[in-house]
């Protein structure tokens, strides 16, 4: 024991013990629990990195090099992954040309790339996340409540069965036919463009699911026939009445009145 004593009292002995202890406990912890976490963390940061590269290439011109926003586009700090997923996976972003509203079009990025972009933007500040599969499980959704909520909160713009309709100055509420439940959920959550925000506190996830279930349910309703004329209400019906209907009547009047040859 004697020979050890001086070393034990060595000024660095405590540090050595501390280091050994840390390495052992840290190593043990890492051996037990770290592998997945570490991989996940690195995969996450990897996705953020790739997302950042995609962002700099495709989005930074309008939204700024660090997503702070420019005169051409709003800041993306704090918009959350859900907003990115909504805008990019429906093809609304990247914007092709200026205009009153970004239209739905074929997407420019595949699903992995959208996730990477979303991961990058989510890393900039807290915002709504992409809804999980559980959040989108419509199996126990209340259709009746969904219908009532839809007619109160959504139908004024999107029409009674989600057909969409006109807003001011060329803007419009899009048709909801064929829109995925994830996209609808994200739209309510983030309030893209003209649409107001319906956060989880004002419409609970359950109510959102009920609304989505209602919208998808009415799409499956059988068509009773007739000319729907887009089913967007009096605008298209009036147009057809004034042009086609009156046109036919005028044509008949001209035919009746014209001198026979």
């Amino acid at each position: 024991m004697r020979p050890l004593r001086p070393r034990r009292r060595h000024p660095l002995a405590a540090l050595a013990v501390l280091l050994v202890g840390l390495v052992v406990t840290g190593g043990a912890y890492a051996a037990i629990s770290a592998p997945q976490g570490a991989q996940a963390v690195s995969a996450q940061s990897f996705a953020v990195d790739l997302g950042r590269k995609l962002y700099l290439q495709g989005c930074s011109t309008c939204h700024g090099l660090s997503a702070e926003g420019t005169t051409d586009g709003p800041t993306l700090i704090g918009v959350g992954a859900a907003a990115v997923d909504f805008q990019v996976s429906t093809g609304r972003m990247p914007l092709q040309s200026g205009g009153v509203q970004a239209p739905r079009k074929p997407r420019a990025y595949d699903e992995t790339q959208v996730d990477q972009l979303a991961a990058y933007v989510a890393s900039l500040g807290p915002g709504p996340a992409i809804p999980s599969a559980e959040q989108l499980d419509l199996s126990d959704a209340n259709l009746q409540e969904g219908g009532e909520l839809f007619r109160t909160n959504c139908a004024s713009c999107h029409n009674f069965v989600g057909q969409g309709g006109a807003l001011t100055r060329g803007k419009y509420a899009p048709d909801l036919a064929g829109v995925s439940s994830r996209t609808m959920y994200e739209a309510m959550l983030t309030g893209p463009q003209s649409m107001p925000v319906f956060s989880d506190t004002s419409l609970t996830p359950e109510q959102k699911r009920a609304i989505i279930a209602f919208v998808q349910n009415v799409q499956e309703e059988p068509n009773p026939g007739g000319f729907g004329l887009g089913r967007v209400g009096p605008v298209s019906e009036g147009l057809v009445t004034w042009t086609v209907g009156l046109g036919l009547i005028i044509a008949a009047a001209v035919w009746i009145a014209v001198k026979p040859s």
Binding site: S156, T168, S194, F198, G225, K259
Partner: protein
């Protein structure tokens, strides 16, 4: 009376000439009126008009082969079916074919009605389509056949029937004055002043009945709720979300949020018309924007941390308006496109509405829920004569 109806006009004709044929058919000398009997006579080729330019009938005196258009006469050449018997025969067959199509369509209508079972939505759609098409064909083809018949085959002559004089004859007029005088004398209306004055007095008071009956429609009915403009909002009335009737906290509303809301005391009213009528003017919308984005409000500090409450009833004709565009803070009414700028006291920026949407001053109660600070200060609902 002119011997040229073209210039004399129809009004110059005397009543006994009703039914006079005008429009010289096919080349009879002008001024010589045809009689009723000629219309079935064989066609005669038109004579050349001697000098149409002199008569002011055509613009260009050098125009070749002038058309025989005489103002007031509508004179025109023969039809194909007048000169070509084969064309007439063809037209006859076409007319008959149209009538036959109509008859077949009627049969088809009956068949479609009898034989299509309405056992599925598809068959209902087909039934509607067939019934509609058959009915349209059977009606349209009769009309079209009749027109085609008239245009191609019926006698191509034009008639004028002048209308009788509107003024009554002097005898009738004198007669009327006489009987009126006799009535006045016989009734003694001028003589018996007591009766006359009491009658005038009674008639003058009569409209009061109607005023009393319409009294109840007055908006500001004194005492008791139920006036059209009286809403349920009062100091401290909690704001609840529509449908769910859940009270609303400020933190429930994100920036850009829209909540369709109503007063909590709406639930105290009996279900049915009383509640619906109250909702019809008490419905509001809550929106939240960055407080810095609010340019003006209808009252100082009527928002709560950027949350603004407005009546949902358009001031134009009272449609519920909640097409809120959160980027521009514009609220659009779907009925007539009135647009309000909610960041600027709900000023009308477009459309027929004449005044801003009334704003509701809000605050929070001790529980942290949004409540009305006071009732509406401006009248809610559509504009009228008193509330332009």
């Amino acid at each position: 009376m002119s011997d040229r109806p073209a210039e004399g006009g129809a009004h110059a004709l005397q009543p006994e000439e009703h039914g006079q044929r005008l429009g010289q058919p096919h080349g009879q000398p002008q001024g010589q009126r045809a009689t009723q009997g000629d219309q079935h006579e064989a066609y005669e080729p038109p004579e050349t008009v001697t000098d149409p330019a002199q008569q002011g009938l055509i613009d260009d005196p050098h125009e070749e082969a002038p058309r025989r258009i005489v103002e007031g006469e509508h004179s025109h050449g023969p039809r194909q079916t007048d000169v070509d018997p084969r064309a007439a025969k063809r037209a006859e067959r076409q007319v008959a074919a149209l009538f036959a199509v109509s008859a077949l369509a009627t049969v088809g209508f009956v068949l479609a009605y009898v034989f299509i079972d309405l056992d599925s939505l598809d068959s209902l759609v087909w039934s509607n389509r067939l019934l509609g098409v058959m009915l349209a064909l059977s009606l349209f083809c009769i009309g079209a056949g009749a027109i085609h018949w008239a245009k191609k085959l019926m006698a191509d002559d034009e008639y004028v029937q002048s209308r009788h004089e509107l003024r009554s004859t002097p005898e009738e007029r004198e007669d009327f004055v006489d009987s009126f005088r006799r009535g006045t004398d016989d009734s003694g209306f001028t003589r018996r002043s007591l009766i006359r004055r009491s009658l005038i007095g009674a008639m003058a008071l009569l409209p009061i009945n109607a005023v009393i009956l319409l009294w109840d429609l007055a908006e500001e009915k004194p005492g008791g709720p139920g006036g059209l403009r009286e809403t349920l909002w009062a100091p401290g009335v909690p704001i609840v979300a529509a449908v769910t009737h859940a009270q609303v906290r400020p933190e429930d509303l994100a920036i850009g949020a829209l909540v369709n809301a109503e007063p909590e005391n709406l639930e105290e009213l009996p279900e049915g018309p009383p509640r619906l009528n109250a909702l019809a003017n008490s419905a509001i919308i809550l929106v939240r924007m960055e407080p810095a984005e609010i340019r003006t409000q209808q009252g100082a500090g009527w928002d709560y941390q950027g949350i603004l409450a407005f009546s949902k009833i358009c001031t134009h004709v009272g449609c519920p308006t909640s097409l809120y565009e959160q980027e521009t803070h514009h609220l659009l009414c779907p009925c007539h496109q009135s647009t309000y700028d909610l960041a600027d006291s709900a000023r009308v920026v477009f459309g027929p509405a004449a005044r801003s949407l009334p704003q509701l001053a809000i605050t929070v109660d001790e529980g942290g829920y949004l409540v009305a600070r006071q009732g509406f200060q401006a009248l809610v609902g559509p504009s009228t004569w008193e509330v332009p």
